[in-house]
Protein backbone atom coordinates (compact mmCIF):
# COMPACT_ATOMS: atom_id res chain seq x y z
CA UNK A 1 0.00 0.00 0.00
CA UNK A 2 2.73 2.43 1.04
CA UNK A 3 4.63 1.72 -2.14
CA UNK A 4 1.70 2.67 -4.36
CA UNK A 5 0.98 5.94 -2.51
CA UNK A 6 4.60 6.95 -2.76
CA UNK A 7 4.46 6.18 -6.44
CA UNK A 8 1.28 8.14 -6.88
CA UNK A 9 2.73 11.03 -4.92
CA UNK A 10 5.81 11.08 -7.07
CA UNK A 11 3.86 11.17 -10.32
CA UNK A 12 1.63 13.86 -8.88
CA UNK A 13 4.54 16.12 -7.98
CA UNK A 14 6.18 15.44 -11.31
CA UNK A 15 3.12 16.46 -13.33
CA UNK A 16 2.67 19.37 -10.95
CA UNK A 17 6.19 20.68 -11.55
CA UNK A 18 5.80 20.07 -15.27
CA UNK A 19 2.61 22.06 -15.33
CA UNK A 20 4.24 24.76 -13.25
CA UNK A 21 7.18 24.91 -15.64
CA UNK A 22 4.78 25.14 -18.57
CA UNK A 23 2.93 28.09 -16.99
CA UNK A 24 6.25 29.79 -16.36
CA UNK A 25 7.39 29.44 -19.96
CA UNK A 26 4.01 30.72 -21.07
CA UNK A 27 4.36 33.75 -18.83
CA UNK A 28 7.90 34.36 -20.10
CA UNK A 29 6.68 33.99 -23.68
CA UNK A 30 3.87 36.47 -23.22
CA UNK A 31 6.15 38.96 -21.46
CA UNK A 32 8.72 38.71 -24.27
CA UNK A 33 6.04 39.15 -26.92
CA UNK A 34 4.46 42.14 -25.24
CA UNK A 35 7.87 43.77 -24.81
CA UNK A 36 8.69 43.17 -28.47
CA UNK A 37 5.33 44.58 -29.55
CA UNK A 38 5.98 47.69 -27.47
CA UNK A 39 9.37 48.23 -29.13
CA UNK A 40 8.04 47.65 -32.63
CA UNK A 41 4.97 49.79 -32.30
CA UNK A 42 6.81 52.52 -30.39
CA UNK A 43 7.47 54.73 -33.45
CA UNK A 44 3.77 54.72 -34.28
CA UNK A 45 2.75 55.53 -30.72
CA UNK A 46 5.38 58.26 -30.54
CA UNK A 47 4.13 59.70 -33.78
CA UNK A 48 0.53 59.92 -32.58
CA UNK A 49 1.58 61.41 -29.26
CA UNK A 50 3.91 63.93 -30.92
CA UNK A 51 1.16 65.11 -33.25
CA UNK A 52 -0.66 66.47 -30.18
CA UNK A 53 2.33 68.38 -28.85
CA UNK A 54 2.35 72.15 -29.30
CA UNK A 55 5.34 73.19 -31.40
CA UNK A 56 7.00 74.82 -28.40
CA UNK A 57 7.30 71.42 -26.71
CA UNK A 58 9.44 69.88 -29.46
CA UNK A 59 12.96 69.53 -28.19
CA UNK A 60 11.94 71.00 -24.83
CA UNK A 61 9.58 68.30 -23.57
CA UNK A 62 11.28 64.99 -24.17
CA UNK A 63 8.66 63.02 -22.29
CA UNK A 64 6.54 60.60 -24.28
CA UNK A 65 3.25 62.40 -23.58
CA UNK A 66 2.60 66.05 -24.39
CA UNK A 67 2.35 68.40 -21.39
CA UNK A 68 -0.34 70.56 -22.96
CA UNK A 69 -2.00 68.36 -25.58
CA UNK A 70 -3.52 70.30 -28.45
CA UNK A 71 -5.33 69.49 -31.66
CA UNK A 72 -4.05 72.76 -33.12
CA UNK A 73 -1.58 70.90 -35.34
CA UNK A 74 -4.42 69.14 -37.10
CA UNK A 75 -6.33 72.35 -37.67
CA UNK A 76 -3.25 74.04 -39.03
CA UNK A 77 -2.69 71.16 -41.41
CA UNK A 78 -6.17 71.23 -42.95
CA UNK A 79 -5.21 74.36 -44.87
CA UNK A 80 -2.89 72.20 -46.90
CA UNK A 81 0.15 73.50 -48.68
CA UNK A 82 0.83 75.87 -51.56
CA UNK A 83 -2.79 77.01 -51.70
CA UNK A 84 -4.13 73.47 -52.18
CA UNK A 85 -6.28 72.24 -49.30
CA UNK A 86 -5.44 68.97 -47.61
CA UNK A 87 -8.59 67.13 -48.75
CA UNK A 88 -7.44 67.53 -52.33
CA UNK A 89 -4.34 65.42 -51.70
CA UNK A 90 -6.48 62.79 -50.00
CA UNK A 91 -8.84 62.76 -52.97
CA UNK A 92 -5.96 62.37 -55.44
CA UNK A 93 -4.45 59.54 -53.42
CA UNK A 94 -7.83 57.88 -53.16
CA UNK A 95 -8.52 58.11 -56.92
CA UNK A 96 -5.09 56.70 -57.76
CA UNK A 97 -5.36 53.87 -55.23
CA UNK A 98 -8.91 52.83 -56.21
CA UNK A 99 -8.17 52.81 -59.93
CA UNK A 100 -5.01 50.80 -59.23
CA UNK A 101 -7.10 48.21 -57.43
CA UNK A 102 -9.56 47.97 -60.33
CA UNK A 103 -6.80 47.69 -62.92
CA UNK A 104 -4.77 45.12 -61.04
CA UNK A 105 -7.71 42.88 -60.14
CA UNK A 106 -8.86 42.72 -63.77
CA UNK A 107 -5.54 42.39 -65.54
CA UNK A 108 -3.74 40.17 -63.03
CA UNK A 109 -6.58 37.67 -62.72
CA UNK A 110 -6.82 37.32 -66.52
CA UNK A 111 -3.10 36.68 -66.82
CA UNK A 112 -3.11 34.37 -63.82
CA UNK A 113 -5.91 32.26 -65.27
CA UNK A 114 -3.97 31.86 -68.51
CA UNK A 115 -0.82 30.76 -66.67
CA UNK A 116 -2.58 28.46 -64.24
CA UNK A 117 -5.30 26.80 -66.31
CA UNK A 118 -4.75 27.11 -70.07
CA UNK A 119 -2.34 24.68 -71.73
CA UNK A 120 -1.23 26.98 -74.52
CA UNK A 121 2.14 26.58 -76.20
CA UNK A 122 4.68 28.89 -74.58
CA UNK A 123 2.96 28.88 -71.20
CA UNK A 124 6.07 27.72 -69.37
CA UNK A 125 8.37 30.17 -71.14
CA UNK A 126 6.13 33.18 -70.58
CA UNK A 127 5.64 32.17 -66.98
CA UNK A 128 9.41 32.16 -66.52
CA UNK A 129 9.59 35.61 -68.13
CA UNK A 130 6.89 36.85 -65.76
CA UNK A 131 8.80 35.52 -62.74
CA UNK A 132 11.93 37.16 -64.14
CA UNK A 133 10.24 40.57 -64.10
CA UNK A 134 9.57 39.98 -60.41
CA UNK A 135 13.30 40.31 -59.83
CA UNK A 136 13.87 43.20 -62.24
CA UNK A 137 14.91 46.45 -60.54
CA UNK A 138 12.26 48.99 -61.40
CA UNK A 139 14.83 51.74 -61.83
CA UNK A 140 16.04 50.29 -65.13
CA UNK A 141 12.68 51.21 -66.63
CA UNK A 142 11.97 54.68 -65.27
CA UNK A 143 13.95 56.74 -67.80
CA UNK A 144 12.54 55.19 -71.00
CA UNK A 145 9.05 55.07 -69.47
CA UNK A 146 9.34 58.74 -68.62
CA UNK A 147 10.45 59.53 -72.18
CA UNK A 148 7.54 57.53 -73.57
CA UNK A 149 4.92 59.31 -71.48
CA UNK A 150 6.55 62.67 -72.15
CA UNK A 151 6.38 62.01 -75.88
CA UNK A 152 2.70 61.12 -75.51
CA UNK A 153 2.15 64.35 -73.58
CA UNK A 154 0.87 62.46 -70.55
CA UNK A 155 3.20 63.95 -67.95
CA UNK A 156 1.28 65.60 -65.11
CA UNK A 157 -1.69 63.27 -65.61
CA UNK A 158 -2.54 60.08 -63.71
CA UNK A 159 -2.16 57.91 -66.85
CA UNK A 160 1.54 57.01 -66.38
CA UNK A 161 0.79 55.92 -62.83
CA UNK A 162 -2.19 53.78 -63.79
CA UNK A 163 -1.48 52.30 -67.22
CA UNK A 164 0.84 49.64 -65.82
CA UNK A 165 -1.79 48.56 -63.31
CA UNK A 166 -4.27 47.83 -66.11
CA UNK A 167 -1.61 45.83 -67.95
CA UNK A 168 -0.59 43.56 -65.05
CA UNK A 169 2.95 44.90 -65.07
CA UNK A 170 3.51 44.08 -61.40
CA UNK A 171 4.25 40.37 -61.47
CA UNK A 172 3.72 40.03 -57.73
CA UNK A 173 -0.04 40.16 -58.21
CA UNK A 174 -0.10 37.73 -61.13
CA UNK A 175 2.05 35.32 -59.14
CA UNK A 176 -0.13 35.65 -56.04
CA UNK A 177 -3.27 34.74 -57.99
CA UNK A 178 -1.55 31.97 -60.01
CA UNK A 179 -0.53 30.31 -56.75
CA UNK A 180 -4.07 30.55 -55.48
CA UNK A 181 -5.64 29.11 -58.63
CA UNK A 182 -3.13 26.23 -58.63
CA UNK A 183 -4.31 25.36 -55.16
CA UNK A 184 -7.93 24.96 -56.30
CA UNK A 185 -9.17 21.49 -57.16
CA UNK A 186 -9.62 20.98 -60.89
CA UNK A 187 -12.84 18.90 -60.61
CA UNK A 188 -15.11 21.89 -61.02
CA UNK A 189 -13.59 23.21 -64.21
CA UNK A 190 -13.13 19.71 -65.66
CA UNK A 191 -16.82 19.15 -65.11
CA UNK A 192 -17.65 22.51 -66.67
CA UNK A 193 -15.54 21.63 -69.70
CA UNK A 194 -17.46 18.40 -70.18
CA UNK A 195 -20.65 20.43 -70.00
CA UNK A 196 -19.29 22.52 -72.86
CA UNK A 197 -17.96 25.61 -71.15
CA UNK A 198 -15.22 27.58 -72.84
CA UNK A 199 -12.36 29.19 -70.98
CA UNK A 200 -14.09 32.53 -70.67
CA UNK A 201 -17.09 31.01 -68.92
CA UNK A 202 -14.96 28.80 -66.70
CA UNK A 203 -12.96 31.85 -65.70
CA UNK A 204 -15.99 34.04 -65.16
CA UNK A 205 -18.38 31.60 -63.52
CA UNK A 206 -16.12 29.20 -61.67
CA UNK A 207 -12.63 30.52 -61.06
CA UNK A 208 -13.41 34.16 -60.35
CA UNK A 209 -15.84 33.44 -57.50
CA UNK A 210 -13.40 30.92 -56.02
CA UNK A 211 -10.39 33.23 -56.02
CA UNK A 212 -12.11 36.01 -54.10
CA UNK A 213 -9.78 35.67 -51.09
CA UNK A 214 -6.74 36.11 -53.37
CA UNK A 215 -8.41 39.08 -55.06
CA UNK A 216 -9.08 40.65 -51.69
CA UNK A 217 -5.41 40.29 -50.69
CA UNK A 218 -4.31 41.64 -54.06
CA UNK A 219 -6.68 44.60 -53.75
CA UNK A 220 -5.44 45.52 -50.31
CA UNK A 221 -1.82 45.36 -51.37
CA UNK A 222 -2.58 47.30 -54.54
CA UNK A 223 -4.35 49.99 -52.55
CA UNK A 224 -1.67 50.34 -49.90
CA UNK A 225 1.24 50.31 -52.35
CA UNK A 226 -0.40 52.93 -54.51
CA UNK A 227 -1.20 55.01 -51.43
CA UNK A 228 2.45 54.86 -50.32
CA UNK A 229 4.02 55.24 -53.77
CA UNK A 230 6.42 58.13 -53.86
CA UNK A 231 8.74 57.65 -56.83
CA UNK A 232 5.96 57.42 -59.45
CA UNK A 233 4.19 60.65 -58.47
CA UNK A 234 7.55 62.35 -57.98
CA UNK A 235 8.46 61.52 -61.57
CA UNK A 236 5.20 62.36 -63.27
CA UNK A 237 3.17 64.91 -61.31
CA UNK A 238 4.22 68.56 -61.35
CA UNK A 239 1.24 70.68 -60.40
CA UNK A 240 0.24 70.70 -56.72
CA UNK A 241 -3.40 70.18 -57.70
CA UNK A 242 -2.48 66.68 -58.83
CA UNK A 243 -0.32 65.76 -55.85
CA UNK A 244 -1.20 62.65 -53.90
CA UNK A 245 -0.36 62.60 -50.19
CA UNK A 246 3.28 61.45 -50.35
CA UNK A 247 4.25 64.39 -52.55
CA UNK A 248 2.31 66.82 -50.38
CA UNK A 249 4.04 65.37 -47.34
CA UNK A 250 7.40 65.92 -48.90
CA UNK A 251 6.59 69.58 -49.56
CA UNK A 252 5.33 69.92 -46.01
CA UNK A 253 8.47 68.32 -44.70
CA UNK A 254 10.77 70.56 -46.72
CA UNK A 255 8.88 73.75 -45.91
CA UNK A 256 7.92 73.37 -42.30
CA UNK A 257 9.83 70.58 -40.60
CA UNK A 258 12.45 72.88 -39.10
CA UNK A 259 9.90 75.38 -37.86
CA UNK A 260 6.80 73.30 -37.30
CA UNK A 261 7.43 69.70 -36.31
CA UNK A 262 3.96 69.29 -34.88
CA UNK A 263 2.21 70.06 -38.15
CA UNK A 264 4.49 67.80 -40.18
CA UNK A 265 3.96 64.87 -37.83
CA UNK A 266 0.20 65.51 -37.80
CA UNK A 267 0.04 65.25 -41.62
CA UNK A 268 2.08 62.06 -41.46
CA UNK A 269 -0.42 60.59 -39.02
CA UNK A 270 -3.35 61.55 -41.24
CA UNK A 271 -1.65 60.05 -44.28
CA UNK A 272 -1.05 56.74 -42.50
CA UNK A 273 -4.46 56.55 -40.86
CA UNK A 274 -6.38 55.06 -43.81
CA UNK A 275 -3.74 52.37 -44.27
CA UNK A 276 -3.68 51.47 -40.61
CA UNK A 277 -7.48 51.22 -40.56
CA UNK A 278 -7.36 49.09 -43.70
CA UNK A 279 -4.78 46.89 -42.08
CA UNK A 280 -6.71 46.46 -38.86
CA UNK A 281 -9.84 45.45 -40.77
CA UNK A 282 -8.20 43.18 -43.35
CA UNK A 283 -5.05 41.98 -41.62
CA UNK A 284 -6.03 38.32 -41.85
CA UNK A 285 -6.22 38.42 -45.65
CA UNK A 286 -2.96 40.30 -45.92
CA UNK A 287 -0.90 38.06 -43.72
CA UNK A 288 -2.34 34.90 -45.33
CA UNK A 289 -1.68 36.35 -48.77
CA UNK A 290 1.96 36.91 -47.98
CA UNK A 291 2.53 33.56 -46.40
CA UNK A 292 1.29 31.53 -49.36
CA UNK A 293 3.54 33.49 -51.66
CA UNK A 294 6.84 31.84 -50.85
CA UNK A 295 5.84 28.29 -50.24
CA UNK A 296 4.50 26.59 -53.30
CA UNK A 297 5.94 26.61 -56.79
Amino acid sequence: MSATTVDRDRTATRTGSLRRRRTWTTVAWVVAMVALTAVILYPLAWMVSASFKPTAEFGANQAFLPENPTIGNYFKVLEGVGGVPLWRFFLNSFILASLSVVGIVISASLAAYAFARIRFRGNGAWFAVMIGTLLLPFHVLIIPQYMLFRRLDLVDTFVPLLLGKFLAVEAFFVFLIVQFIRGLPRDMDEAARIDGCGHWRIFWLIILPLIKPALVSASIFAFIWSWNDFLGPLLYLNSPDNYPLPLALRVFNDQTSSSDYGATVAVSVLALLPILLFFIIFQRFLVEGVSTQGLKG
Binding site: A114, M130, P137, P144, Q145, G198, W200, S268, L276
Partner: protein
Amino acid sequence: MTIATHAADAATDPVRDRARGGAPAGAGGSTPAPRRRRALQRREDAAGYLFLTPWLIGFFLLTAGPMLFSLYLAFTNYSIFGKTEFIGLDNFARMMDDEVWWGSVRITLLCVLVGTPIKLLAALAVAMLLNYRSKGTGFFRSAFYAPSLIGASVSIAIVWRAMFSTGGPVDSSLRIFGIDIGGWVGIPALILPMMILLAVWQFGAPMVIFLAGLKQVPAELYEAASVDGAGPLGKFRNVTLPMLSPVIFFNLLLEMIHAFQVFASAYIIGSGTGGPAGATNFYTVYLYTRAFTNTQMGYASAMAWVLLIAVGIIAVIMFRTSNSWVHYSGDKR
Protein backbone atom coordinates in the same frame (compact mmCIF):
# COMPACT_ATOMS: atom_id res chain seq x y z
CA MET B 1 -15.02 42.78 -73.24
CA THR B 2 -17.68 41.22 -75.46
CA ILE B 3 -15.18 40.57 -78.22
CA ALA B 4 -13.00 38.80 -75.74
CA THR B 5 -15.96 36.76 -74.55
CA HIS B 6 -16.83 35.52 -78.00
CA ALA B 7 -13.32 34.75 -79.01
CA ALA B 8 -12.56 32.92 -75.81
CA ASP B 9 -15.77 30.93 -76.06
CA ALA B 10 -15.04 30.14 -79.67
CA ALA B 11 -11.66 28.80 -78.61
CA THR B 12 -13.21 25.63 -77.34
CA ASP B 13 -11.20 23.08 -75.52
CA PRO B 14 -10.62 19.41 -76.14
CA VAL B 15 -13.20 18.03 -73.74
CA ARG B 16 -16.07 19.98 -75.19
CA ASP B 17 -15.27 18.83 -78.69
CA ARG B 18 -14.95 15.30 -77.54
CA ALA B 19 -18.38 15.48 -75.97
CA ARG B 20 -19.89 16.97 -79.09
CA GLY B 21 -18.25 14.51 -81.45
CA GLY B 22 -19.54 11.63 -79.39
CA ALA B 23 -16.37 9.62 -79.91
CA PRO B 24 -13.30 9.95 -77.73
CA ALA B 25 -10.35 11.56 -79.40
CA GLY B 26 -7.96 9.07 -80.88
CA ALA B 27 -10.70 6.49 -81.42
CA GLY B 28 -10.75 7.20 -85.13
CA GLY B 29 -13.72 8.88 -86.75
CA SER B 30 -13.45 10.87 -89.94
CA THR B 31 -10.54 13.08 -88.84
CA PRO B 32 -7.27 11.43 -87.94
CA ALA B 33 -6.38 11.91 -84.29
CA PRO B 34 -3.12 13.90 -84.67
CA ARG B 35 -4.61 16.58 -86.89
CA ARG B 36 -7.58 16.88 -84.60
CA ARG B 37 -5.36 17.22 -81.59
CA ARG B 38 -3.42 19.93 -83.40
CA ALA B 39 -6.62 21.87 -84.04
CA LEU B 40 -7.59 21.61 -80.40
CA GLN B 41 -4.15 22.76 -79.38
CA ARG B 42 -4.49 25.76 -81.67
CA ARG B 43 -7.74 26.71 -79.94
CA GLU B 44 -6.11 26.33 -76.56
CA ASP B 45 -3.27 28.59 -77.78
CA ALA B 46 -5.73 31.21 -78.97
CA ALA B 47 -7.50 31.25 -75.62
CA GLY B 48 -4.21 31.41 -73.73
CA TYR B 49 -2.84 34.36 -75.66
CA LEU B 50 -6.18 36.14 -75.51
CA PHE B 51 -6.23 35.99 -71.72
CA LEU B 52 -2.61 37.01 -71.70
CA THR B 53 -3.06 40.00 -74.03
CA PRO B 54 -3.09 42.77 -71.38
CA TRP B 55 -0.05 41.30 -69.70
CA LEU B 56 1.77 40.88 -73.03
CA ILE B 57 1.07 44.49 -74.04
CA GLY B 58 2.28 45.65 -70.65
CA PHE B 59 5.35 43.46 -70.89
CA PHE B 60 6.43 44.75 -74.30
CA LEU B 61 5.38 48.38 -73.85
CA LEU B 62 6.40 48.99 -70.24
CA THR B 63 9.02 46.36 -69.42
CA ALA B 64 10.90 44.75 -72.32
CA GLY B 65 10.80 47.80 -74.62
CA PRO B 66 12.00 50.27 -71.99
CA MET B 67 14.64 47.79 -70.87
CA LEU B 68 16.18 47.55 -74.32
CA PHE B 69 15.85 51.26 -74.86
CA SER B 70 17.65 52.01 -71.63
CA LEU B 71 20.43 49.67 -72.76
CA TYR B 72 20.75 51.81 -75.89
CA LEU B 73 20.66 55.02 -73.85
CA ALA B 74 23.47 53.73 -71.66
CA PHE B 75 25.81 54.09 -74.64
CA THR B 76 24.70 57.63 -75.51
CA ASN B 77 24.94 61.08 -73.95
CA TYR B 78 21.15 61.46 -74.10
CA SER B 79 19.69 64.37 -72.21
CA ILE B 80 16.26 65.90 -72.69
CA PHE B 81 17.99 68.90 -74.20
CA GLY B 82 20.71 68.86 -76.83
CA LYS B 83 21.83 66.38 -79.43
CA THR B 84 22.14 62.70 -78.71
CA GLU B 85 25.38 61.02 -79.69
CA PHE B 86 26.60 57.48 -79.42
CA ILE B 87 29.55 57.57 -77.05
CA GLY B 88 30.37 53.90 -76.56
CA LEU B 89 31.52 52.94 -73.11
CA ASP B 90 32.19 56.52 -71.99
CA ASN B 91 29.40 56.54 -69.42
CA PHE B 92 30.79 53.43 -67.77
CA ALA B 93 34.32 54.81 -67.83
CA ARG B 94 33.14 58.06 -66.24
CA MET B 95 31.34 56.08 -63.56
CA MET B 96 34.62 54.49 -62.54
CA ASP B 97 36.07 57.97 -61.98
CA ASP B 98 32.98 59.32 -60.27
CA GLU B 99 33.64 59.48 -56.56
CA VAL B 100 30.02 60.28 -55.77
CA TRP B 101 29.04 57.11 -57.62
CA TRP B 102 31.51 55.04 -55.59
CA GLY B 103 30.15 56.60 -52.42
CA SER B 104 26.60 55.64 -53.32
CA VAL B 105 27.71 52.12 -54.25
CA ARG B 106 29.46 51.80 -50.88
CA ILE B 107 26.51 52.81 -48.69
CA THR B 108 24.02 50.85 -50.80
CA LEU B 109 26.10 47.67 -50.64
CA LEU B 110 26.65 48.12 -46.90
CA CYS B 111 22.93 48.51 -46.39
CA VAL B 112 22.22 45.39 -48.49
CA LEU B 113 24.97 43.19 -47.07
CA VAL B 114 24.60 44.20 -43.42
CA GLY B 115 20.94 45.16 -43.21
CA THR B 116 19.44 42.16 -45.02
CA PRO B 117 21.08 39.43 -42.89
CA ILE B 118 20.15 41.26 -39.68
CA LYS B 119 16.59 41.69 -40.89
CA LEU B 120 16.30 38.00 -41.82
CA LEU B 121 17.84 36.84 -38.54
CA ALA B 122 15.32 38.96 -36.65
CA ALA B 123 12.55 37.59 -38.84
CA LEU B 124 13.59 33.99 -38.25
CA ALA B 125 14.06 34.44 -34.51
CA VAL B 126 10.68 36.05 -34.00
CA ALA B 127 9.00 33.51 -36.30
CA MET B 128 10.40 30.70 -34.14
CA LEU B 129 9.19 32.46 -31.00
CA LEU B 130 5.74 32.79 -32.52
CA ASN B 131 5.79 29.19 -33.70
CA TYR B 132 6.56 28.05 -30.16
CA ARG B 133 2.89 28.38 -29.31
CA SER B 134 -0.01 27.48 -31.50
CA LYS B 135 -2.69 29.71 -29.98
CA GLY B 136 -2.91 33.41 -29.29
CA THR B 137 -0.27 34.40 -31.82
CA GLY B 138 -2.52 36.16 -34.31
CA PHE B 139 -2.37 39.56 -32.69
CA PHE B 140 1.42 39.56 -32.39
CA ARG B 141 1.86 38.30 -35.93
CA SER B 142 -0.21 41.19 -37.25
CA ALA B 143 1.44 43.77 -35.01
CA PHE B 144 4.91 42.68 -36.18
CA TYR B 145 3.79 42.69 -39.79
CA ALA B 146 2.41 46.25 -39.76
CA PRO B 147 5.78 48.04 -40.20
CA SER B 148 6.38 46.15 -43.46
CA LEU B 149 3.33 47.76 -44.97
CA ILE B 150 4.10 51.32 -44.02
CA GLY B 151 7.88 51.29 -43.65
CA ALA B 152 8.60 52.56 -47.15
CA SER B 153 6.16 55.46 -46.90
CA VAL B 154 7.04 59.12 -46.71
CA SER B 155 5.21 59.40 -43.37
CA ILE B 156 7.49 56.88 -41.72
CA ALA B 157 10.59 58.49 -43.21
CA ILE B 158 9.51 61.80 -41.66
CA VAL B 159 8.85 60.14 -38.31
CA TRP B 160 12.13 58.24 -38.45
CA ARG B 161 13.98 61.45 -39.08
CA ALA B 162 12.19 63.20 -36.20
CA MET B 163 12.84 60.28 -33.85
CA PHE B 164 16.57 60.36 -34.49
CA SER B 165 16.97 64.13 -34.44
CA THR B 166 18.30 66.22 -31.58
CA GLY B 167 15.98 66.00 -28.58
CA GLY B 168 14.02 63.17 -30.22
CA PRO B 169 13.20 59.97 -28.37
CA VAL B 170 16.36 58.12 -29.46
CA ASP B 171 18.64 60.97 -28.42
CA SER B 172 16.94 61.47 -25.07
CA SER B 173 16.86 57.78 -24.17
CA LEU B 174 20.54 57.39 -25.04
CA ARG B 175 21.24 60.36 -22.81
CA ILE B 176 19.81 58.43 -19.85
CA PHE B 177 22.74 56.04 -20.32
CA GLY B 178 25.14 58.95 -20.52
CA ILE B 179 25.61 58.68 -24.28
CA ASP B 180 25.34 62.15 -25.73
CA ILE B 181 25.61 62.15 -29.50
CA GLY B 182 22.76 64.53 -30.24
CA GLY B 183 20.81 64.09 -33.46
CA TRP B 184 21.84 61.24 -35.77
CA VAL B 185 20.57 62.96 -38.89
CA GLY B 186 23.42 65.47 -39.05
CA ILE B 187 26.17 62.88 -38.62
CA PRO B 188 27.03 61.05 -41.86
CA ALA B 189 28.42 57.99 -40.05
CA LEU B 190 25.14 57.47 -38.17
CA ILE B 191 22.83 57.72 -41.17
CA LEU B 192 23.66 54.19 -42.27
CA PRO B 193 22.81 52.57 -38.90
CA MET B 194 19.62 54.62 -38.91
CA MET B 195 18.69 53.34 -42.36
CA ILE B 196 19.58 49.77 -41.42
CA LEU B 197 17.38 50.06 -38.32
CA LEU B 198 14.56 51.26 -40.53
CA ALA B 199 15.03 48.20 -42.75
CA VAL B 200 15.23 45.82 -39.79
CA TRP B 201 12.09 47.36 -38.30
CA GLN B 202 10.28 45.97 -41.36
CA PHE B 203 11.18 42.36 -40.57
CA GLY B 204 7.49 41.36 -40.52
CA ALA B 205 7.12 40.41 -44.19
CA PRO B 206 9.89 37.78 -44.22
CA MET B 207 8.80 36.71 -40.72
CA VAL B 208 5.33 35.79 -41.93
CA ILE B 209 6.86 33.70 -44.72
CA PHE B 210 9.24 31.99 -42.28
CA LEU B 211 6.33 31.27 -39.96
CA ALA B 212 4.34 29.62 -42.73
CA GLY B 213 7.44 27.57 -43.56
CA LEU B 214 7.91 26.50 -39.95
CA LYS B 215 4.32 25.32 -39.75
CA GLN B 216 4.99 22.96 -42.65
CA VAL B 217 7.90 21.15 -41.05
CA PRO B 218 6.50 17.70 -40.18
CA ALA B 219 6.42 17.05 -36.41
CA GLU B 220 7.72 13.48 -37.00
CA LEU B 221 11.10 14.90 -37.97
CA TYR B 222 11.45 16.59 -34.59
CA GLU B 223 10.28 13.42 -32.83
CA ALA B 224 12.79 11.35 -34.76
CA ALA B 225 15.53 13.83 -33.85
CA SER B 226 14.53 13.60 -30.18
CA VAL B 227 14.72 9.82 -30.31
CA ASP B 228 18.22 10.17 -31.76
CA GLY B 229 19.07 12.31 -28.74
CA ALA B 230 19.24 15.70 -30.42
CA GLY B 231 18.92 18.77 -28.18
CA PRO B 232 17.19 22.00 -29.16
CA LEU B 233 20.30 23.24 -30.97
CA GLY B 234 20.74 19.97 -32.82
CA LYS B 235 17.10 20.02 -33.88
CA PHE B 236 17.49 23.55 -35.14
CA ARG B 237 20.62 22.72 -37.13
CA ASN B 238 19.56 19.36 -38.49
CA VAL B 239 15.81 19.72 -38.91
CA THR B 240 14.66 23.34 -38.91
CA LEU B 241 17.40 24.88 -41.05
CA PRO B 242 17.39 22.30 -43.85
CA MET B 243 13.60 22.13 -43.96
CA LEU B 244 13.40 25.91 -44.04
CA SER B 245 16.18 26.43 -46.59
CA PRO B 246 13.87 26.99 -49.60
CA VAL B 247 12.09 29.71 -47.67
CA ILE B 248 15.40 31.21 -46.54
CA PHE B 249 16.52 31.24 -50.16
CA PHE B 250 13.34 32.96 -51.31
CA ASN B 251 13.46 35.57 -48.53
CA LEU B 252 17.15 36.28 -49.01
CA LEU B 253 16.80 36.80 -52.75
CA LEU B 254 13.75 39.05 -52.55
CA GLU B 255 14.97 41.07 -49.59
CA MET B 256 18.37 41.74 -51.15
CA ILE B 257 16.76 42.93 -54.37
CA HIS B 258 14.43 45.11 -52.32
CA ALA B 259 17.27 46.55 -50.31
CA PHE B 260 19.03 47.71 -53.48
CA GLN B 261 15.98 49.75 -54.39
CA VAL B 262 15.37 51.78 -51.22
CA PHE B 263 14.35 55.21 -52.39
CA ALA B 264 11.64 57.16 -50.58
CA SER B 265 13.11 56.92 -47.08
CA ALA B 266 16.61 57.92 -48.19
CA TYR B 267 15.23 60.72 -50.34
CA ILE B 268 13.09 62.17 -47.54
CA ILE B 269 15.67 61.77 -44.77
CA GLY B 270 18.23 63.54 -46.94
CA SER B 271 15.66 66.10 -48.22
CA GLY B 272 16.42 64.96 -51.75
CA THR B 273 19.99 66.17 -51.62
CA GLY B 274 21.71 62.91 -50.74
CA GLY B 275 23.32 64.73 -47.81
CA PRO B 276 24.78 65.06 -45.26
CA ALA B 277 28.07 64.36 -47.03
CA GLY B 278 26.45 61.85 -49.38
CA ALA B 279 25.26 59.65 -46.51
CA THR B 280 21.72 59.35 -47.89
CA ASN B 281 22.85 59.28 -51.50
CA PHE B 282 21.72 55.71 -52.04
CA TYR B 283 22.17 54.24 -55.50
CA THR B 284 18.61 54.93 -56.59
CA VAL B 285 18.65 58.46 -55.16
CA TYR B 286 21.81 59.23 -57.10
CA LEU B 287 20.33 57.68 -60.22
CA TYR B 288 17.23 59.82 -59.86
CA THR B 289 19.30 62.98 -59.31
CA ARG B 290 21.46 62.30 -62.36
CA ALA B 291 18.50 61.50 -64.58
CA PHE B 292 15.92 64.07 -63.52
CA THR B 293 17.77 66.88 -61.76
CA ASN B 294 20.86 66.98 -63.97
CA THR B 295 18.98 65.50 -66.97
CA GLN B 296 21.94 63.23 -67.75
CA MET B 297 19.75 60.36 -68.79
CA GLY B 298 22.43 58.53 -70.72
CA TYR B 299 24.67 58.37 -67.68
CA ALA B 300 21.74 57.42 -65.43
CA SER B 301 20.75 54.62 -67.82
CA ALA B 302 24.28 53.27 -67.64
CA MET B 303 23.97 53.39 -63.86
CA ALA B 304 20.66 51.54 -64.05
CA TRP B 305 22.25 48.79 -66.13
CA VAL B 306 25.07 48.42 -63.65
CA LEU B 307 22.42 47.94 -60.96
CA LEU B 308 20.60 45.41 -63.11
CA ILE B 309 23.80 43.48 -63.73
CA ALA B 310 24.71 43.55 -60.04
CA VAL B 311 21.30 42.19 -59.09
CA GLY B 312 21.59 39.62 -61.87
CA ILE B 313 24.99 38.45 -60.63
CA ILE B 314 23.69 38.07 -57.10
CA ALA B 315 20.69 36.09 -58.33
CA VAL B 316 22.89 33.82 -60.48
CA ILE B 317 25.30 33.20 -57.60
CA MET B 318 22.40 32.34 -55.34
CA PHE B 319 20.77 29.97 -57.80
CA ARG B 320 24.11 28.31 -58.64
CA THR B 321 25.03 27.73 -55.01
CA SER B 322 21.49 26.80 -54.02
CA ASN B 323 22.07 23.10 -54.85
CA SER B 324 24.53 22.87 -52.02
CA TRP B 325 22.47 24.56 -49.32
CA VAL B 326 18.84 24.54 -50.34
CA HIS B 327 17.10 21.31 -49.50
CA TYR B 328 13.96 20.39 -51.40
CA SER B 329 12.07 17.60 -49.73
CA GLY B 330 9.74 15.12 -51.35
CA ASP B 331 7.96 16.19 -54.49
CA LYS B 332 10.18 17.89 -56.98
CA ARG B 333 8.28 19.79 -59.57
